[in-house]
Symmetry: C2
């Protein structure tokens, strides 16, 4: 299948690109290095250097024999979108091309504006490009479980049948997020759902939970093919951050009560989910929504796991509750469904002690590069 990966330089984009080539797909990657630029501007960076996309493609080709053409440019600009879609007519599009960090989106007005404009205009341009150049292409969009927030009822898979005053209607599951970044994902869903109905598009919207890990089948032997591994407060996800904190002897920073519960998944499962979605596409005129996570943990659960496995590896790990910089429920009901991707064939990886030990050991090799000042900057939501 001819697959366009938008945001192909990112934490998930690059591993997805390599993975899909090994599964027999023709892959093209597109990126504008936005995340690299924002990290530089905010003086944060990944645990180890990551070659640029042209270099990664060259290294991957010499390791595997698979070629991946690269387009560098800004998908908010229609002339570039047009160039990409007229050079390579995709059958599947994986849309990761968004400013991906909730804390960054809450940093200040300019960061908020950038997040809003970038994320919505890229999504709109992808829709317009599919309509104009490849109306049968299947869009696989990365949404987030954060779109749902933490309602007091079960979170179903995308849709909710409501009975009200004796009548029934099935709605898009109501959404209420807790960062501007997550809110732009809600707005993406609004836009996709609208145009699916108008133009009979084929869309799969993956409501993904926080991802952890760095190893995939394609990169385990090649340090230079690893994805970004950010451990800073802006771009790092919680488990990756905790592992770095444990390694460097920094207390694990639990926000508030630590009862915030979310659905997590290993980066290997992101690749499976995206591949399965592409290979078994949604029908025309259907917005197919999957909740993409494997198991749920509270922040306290994760901190305890890291402390326990870290201790077994000889690390002295402490946990510190800090004032929650975010505005969110710290103790709440959480029961989301996630059968759709399992039905499609997902074989989940669980967060075992072995998996956690492997992550800690990988980070230990780069211990000397950890910059403590990146870890905790107290960026406030309000």
């Amino acid at each position: 299948m001819r697959v366009l990966i938008l945001g192909g330089d990112g934490y998930l984009g690059w591993p997805t690109a390599m993975h899909l080539t090994t599964q027999g797909h023709d892959v093209v990657v597109v990126d504008n290095y936005l995340r690299r630029r924002l990290c530089r501007e905010e003086n944060v960076g990944p645990l180890f250097e990551v070659p640029n996309l042209h270099e990664r493609v060259r290294i991957w080709e010499s390791a595997s024999g698979y070629k991946i053409p690269v387009f560098i440019g800004d998908l908010t600009q229609w002339d570039f979108v047009q160039e990409v879609f007229t050079s390579f007519t995709p059958e599947g599009i994986v849309h990761y091309a968004e400013q991906p960090a909730a804390p960054y989106s809450m940093l200040n007005r300019r960061a908020a504006s950038l997040t809003l404009q970038n994320n919505l205009m890229v999504t709109a341009n992808v829709i317009f490009a599919v309509r104009e150049f490849s109306p049968e292409a299947h869009i696989v969009k990365i949404g987030t479980m954060g779109e749902y927030g933490t309602p007091n009822i079960d979170i179903e898979e995308g849709w909710l049948e409501v009975e009200h005053k004796g009548r029934r209607h099935t709605f898009l599951y109501p959404r209420q997020a807790s960062s501007l970044y997550h809110t732009t994902k809600i707005m993406d869903t609004d836009l996709l759902w609208f145009y699916v109905r108008m133009w009979d598009l084929r869309v799969t919207d993956l409501m993904q939970g926080p991802v952890y890990g760095l190893f995939t089948d394609e990169n385990e032997e090649h340090q230079s093919l690893l994805p970004f591994f950010n451990y800073d407060e802006l771009f790092g996800t919680v488990l990756n951050r905790f592992v770095v904190q444990a390694v460097v002897g920094y207390p694990l920073t639990v926000y508030g009560k630590g009862g915030q519960t979310r659905g997590y998944l290993n980066i290997k499962d992101t690749l499976q989910c995206v591949r399965l979605s592409l290979e078994k596409p949604s029908d025309n005129g259907r917005l197919r929504i999957f909740n993409q996570f494997v198991e749920t943990f509270s922040v306290n659960d994760l901190a305890c796991k890291v402390q326990q496995v870290g201790s077994q590896l000889g690390l002295n790990v402490s946990i510190q509750s800090v004032e929650n910089p975010r505005i969110e429920a710290e103790d709440h009901y959480y029961n989301p469904a996630n059968t759709g991707l399992l039905d499609l064939g997902l074989e989940p990886h669980y967060l075992t002690d072995e998996v956690l030990a492997e992550m800690i050991e990988a980070v230990l090799k780069h211990r000397h590069r950890i910059q403590e000042h990146q870890i905790y900057r107290k960026i406030k939501w309000a």
Copy 2:
């Protein structure tokens, strides 16, 4: 009260500005003439000439004695937003500053992009400006009943309590619109609701139905103070269009079966609703939502009324069903609540035969200016 009217040149913006001055408020109007520009580009125009905003303000001052300062500029540009909010610190903000036409938003890619960017970035900038310059100011935002679409259950006023598997949660009422314009209003609601929770803003979101009419207490004696009265397929609303069609002997164009039912209101009631919302503001941290309409009609109901009253005035009015260019239900359940504004003090005007006759007579005076080629252009949604 010090009130900023964003989009103060529009069909509703200008009548609101005049009305609020007569009620003792200090009013400033802001506009960038976007709607005039789009009409010119699309070769459509109002039934009679409308002076520019500086002229309207001058005429209104000589008629009434009230002064209204004018800012001309683009609210998607932060430097202009900053200039407005530092020159005049508002207590209330009426946000009409959006591309207001559903058919325009469906015209082509550029029109869609413009609608999306303009509407969302203005809403975002209003939120950021309130946060930075006037955190206690109350935002009165014009949303639309179209945000709800036509679900098979009653439409409540903004919120829906759901019982699901033995648990309960109150959600923002799920939204699903039938044009990109209406979808941008959903996205505005997402954005406002998010920042209300984060930053304790005071917001009233008015889910308004289609408005009809042109006379208000302030303009009845002054032709040059009337609002835009568009009768074209792009910018004209349905009843205003039908009246013009009746006057010029063009068949009333009913889309499809004509069972599309909506909640309507007289322009006089828009002014009341906005004033009442301003004078009895929402609390901090609360998104107050009202459904702003007075009575519901199907398109067939409206066509029949215009035909009947037109005949009494000696017009020969025919009704013609045309292929529906839109993708929408033509026959559906519709039972929306609208008690909130009545409780606040709204004294509704109903669409009586007298009101309709007054509209028809007003349009008859300008019969010679009606350009038939504007009336029906078959702009298709899909």
